[in-house]
């Protein structure tokens, strides 16, 4: 039994990082065994923000449970909603109108950029550079404004519902997205200048927190963190949903597997998402934005599973239906939980300062881990 405060029997230093700590970006509690400044072991303690979302969903109807998923990974709430809507559509065999599909993909990609931009700022802040954080928020604010106009919310959108999207696009949408594309294209090289090419940043991240392809697979690391280890795991490519198979984009793959590779993959993904938005923004089909569905959704008896690519990785939604109006059992496979499990493996033997860099490169969102 390890004492929470003090030292272990071997004389190692035990330190509690969190649940309130600037680097954990939420209520994550890490019990770290250290020898001087070198990390010997990390033990994540979860449960500080557990809201029992999966159990709650069992008493909510198929239209209602989608709203709780916005609160899981709050930085990619659109994509969470998308995953759940896809599941209900798959179970009920609902045909989604092409306009709704285009709007969904646009919103997903805008969300991905907003999430990655915030991560970029937070990662730099973890490494001690405060300024990028504020620059990141400048671009994120534009996306939030776009979302606010169309969806009526800035963080927990609840915009994608079974059969399509809740409202049609706001008349300003196209013009505002074009303005965003223009500004973001200007600012991306600035991001690279400020952080990517910085000698200190490179020294702090290159060759650090190495995760091999085998380890990435065995820990179930997905998303940009998995792709940085060479694991082709972009659901949009390997198992296309919505209209992703009709769009052209590259899966950002890297083979280094270190913190800098994870950083680079996300920088590439921002550019790819921007190109997806550019492809779609002037080609949104006319028509309905919401398919006609029955007032009460009752999927047939059986088990259903869908997966989508959130900004952090693969989100799986698994539902057992008894043919009733509410799910019998629901389970989310959240990317953050699996990514966190690799943290101990990646940080052993590194310095405490590196823990912050490695944790930042995993882009953890704590409510996604705890649900």
């Amino acid at each position: 039994m390890i004492e929470e405060i003090g030292t272990t029997e071997q004389g190692d230093l035990l330190i509690n990082v969190g649940p309130q700590h600037p680097a954990t970006h939420g209520v994550l509690h890490l019990v770290i065994t250290m020898n001087g400044e070198t990390i010997k072991k990390i033990e994540p303690h979860l449960g500080y923000i557990h809201r029992s979302i999966e159990k709650m969903c069992e008493s909510l109807t198929y239209r209602q449970f989608i709203y709780t998923t916005s609160r899981m990974d709050y930085l990619s709430s659109h994509i969470n909603n998308h995953g759940c809507a896809l599941l209900v559509e798959k179970a009920m065999q609902i045909e989604v109108p092409p306009r709704a599909e285009a709007i969904r993909v646009l919103m997903d990609e805008l969300t991905r950029i907003a999430s990655h931009v915030l991560w970029w700022g937070a990662m730099a802040m973890d490494l001690g550079a405060m300024t990028p954080y504020f620059h990141a928020f400048r671009e994120r604010e534009l996306i939030n404004d776009i979302m606010e106009e169309t969806c009526g919310a800035r963080l927990t959108m609840n915009y994608q519902v079974p059969g399509g999207v809740m409202f049609d696009l706001h008349p300003n949408f196209r013009q505002k997205v074009h303005a965003f594309i223009k500004q973001f294209k200007q600012k991306l090289p600035e991001y690279d200048e400020l952080v990517t090419g910085n000698a200190i940043f490179k020294a702090r991240t290159q060759g650090l927190g190495y995760l091999s392809l085998e380890d990435a697979v065995s820990y179930g690391v997905t998303g940009p963190s998995g792709r940085a280890s060479g694991l082709s795991c972009d659901i949009r490519k390997i198992h296309p949903y919505s209209i992703y198979d009709k769009l052209t984009f590259e899966e950002a793959l890297h083979s280094d597997g270190d913190t800098y590779a994870r950083y680079l993959v996300r920088m590439v993904e921002m550019r790819e998402s921007l190109s997806l938005i550019e492809q779609l923004i002037d080609n949104i089909p006319e028509g309905d934005f919401l398919a006609k569905t029955k007032a009460v959704l009752k999927p047939p008896k059986g088990e259903f599973y869908t997966r989508v690519e959130t900004a952090r990785g693969e989100l799986g939604v698994y539902v057992v239906s008894e043919g009733a109006t509410t799910p019998y059992r629901i389970k989310f496979r959240s990317p953050g939980f699996s990514n966190l499990s690799a943290l101990d493996h990646m940080t052993r033997g590194q310095k405490i300062g590196d823990l912050v860099a490695i944790m930042g490169s995993l882009d953890l969102v704590i409510p996604d881990i705890d649900r």
Binding site: L13, I15, H21, P22, A23, E37, A124, M125, D126, L127, G128, A129, M130, T131, Y133, F134, H135, R138, L194, V195, N198, I200, F201, A203, R204, K351, I352, G353, D354, L355, V356
Partner: protein, 358 residues
């Protein structure tokens, strides 16, 4: 022209006529002490508001803008808040060390104000070993940091203090070597003589490349010595929450905070004095008219202008760069800065012996 020297001289004569020798000395010492404390407080406030404004400007924010005109009284309001806050001492802390550490930090910073030439003929104490005095006293700061970190009985504080100890002790060598280059060129340790030797040009221009290298090393080393980003490992907010001052609150925290800014001011003042000519105006060869105009600008404006420019550069570092890791930090010092500094001082010695400098 009304110079500071004539004011102080006439005041001295007037006081001498009024009271005796001893009392004149006592009164003058008290006055200087009060002035130093006043300068300490005012500089702290100015630098805090300057840092906040500079960071806001770099981070596309407005910065403090509510208290007073353009938010200029914000740091005063903050100080009042910190003054009335309860001074807490944690249960497990070593009370004597915990409570005396912030005062030691402040005293070490204040002692450093003594030999600096703020304007023409305007020192607190023009000691003949001024540079040596500065390098000696500036080492005291590390004791305050170690005391604070050790006595807090907090692991974050301890880690921060140990990092700080390693860092300050290492970087003092480089700072000392780069100061030594100017001492070699000038042949004096006295601040007033170092300034006087730059009457016909600042050392950064006169000393060829070695002086420039020494200046760059000096700026890097003192940024590390004052524990500021990218070398702020002793605090390292995202790693160690607050580093050595995690457990401090209220006025005790404010003293550490003030001492940090005063240290920044002092190292920049030393940099300005050694490399940029102190209060000496900027002159170009035989451009008589230009030099005459430059002479009309008061010497105190020159001194504070140069110092605040260097402070701005340090703030620029802080708000641009990520933080180094502890082993990289020590590598930078022991593998790069120190060997370069040593070669540099040999070069400077050769230049000084052969009188190659202008």
């Amino acid at each position: 022209m009304l110079s500071l020297r004539s004011i102080t001289d006439s005041f001295h004569t007037w006081l001498l006529g009024l009271v005796g020798d001893t009392w004149t000395l006592v009164i003058e010492m008290v006055l200087v002490g009060v002035a130093a404390i006043g300068l300490f407080a005012v500089l702290g406030l100015i630098l805090v508001i300057m840092e906040r404004k500079v960071s806001a400007w770099m981070q596309i924010r407005l910065g403090p803008n509510r208290v007073g005109p353009k938010g200029m009284l914000q740091s005063t309001a903050d100080t009042v808040k910190l003054l009335v806050k309860e001074g807490m001492t944690p249960d497990g802390a070593d009370k004597l060390m915990f409570n005396s550490a912030p005062f030691l930090a402040m005293i070490a910073a204040m002692l450093l104000l003594a030999p600096i030439a703020f304007a023409k003929d305007f020192h607190i104490w023009d000691i003949n070993i001024g540079v040596l005095y500065i390098t000696a006293i500036s080492s005291l700061n590390v004791i305050a940091v170690l005391m604070a970190g050790w006595s807090s009985n907090n692991k974050y504080s301890l880690l921060g203090a140990m990092r700080s100890g390693a860092q300050i002790v290492s970087y003092e060598l480089s700072a000392g070597l780069s100061i030594l280059t100017i001492v070699v060129l000038t042949g004096s340790l006295q601040m007033s003589e170092i300034v006087a030797s730059q009457a016909n040009g600042w050392w950064i221009f006169k000393g060829h490349l070695p002086a420039l290298i020494a200046f760059v090393i000096f700026m890097i080393a003192v940024t590390a010595e004052t524990n500021r980003a990218p070398f702020d490992l002793a605090e390292a907010e995202s790693e160690l929450t607050g580093g050595f001052h995690t457990e401090y609150s209220g006025m005790k925290f404010a003293l550490f905070f003030l001492a940090e800014y005063i240290n920044v001011f002092i190292v920049c003042a030393i940099g300005a004095t050694l490399f940029l000519g102190g209060w000496m105006p900027f002159h170009i060869g035989n451009w008589e008219g230009f030099n005459r105009i430059m002479d009309y600008i008061p010497s105190s404006v020159w001194f504070f202008g140069k110092t605040f420019f260097l402070i701005f550069v340090m703030m620029w570092f802080r708000w641009t760069f990520p933080r180094l890791r502890i082993d990289q930090l020590l590598n930078l010092e022991w593998k790069y800065l120190l060997p370069i500094g040593m070669v540099n001082i040999v070069l400077v010695t050769v230049i000084a012996i052969l009188k190659w400098h202008f």
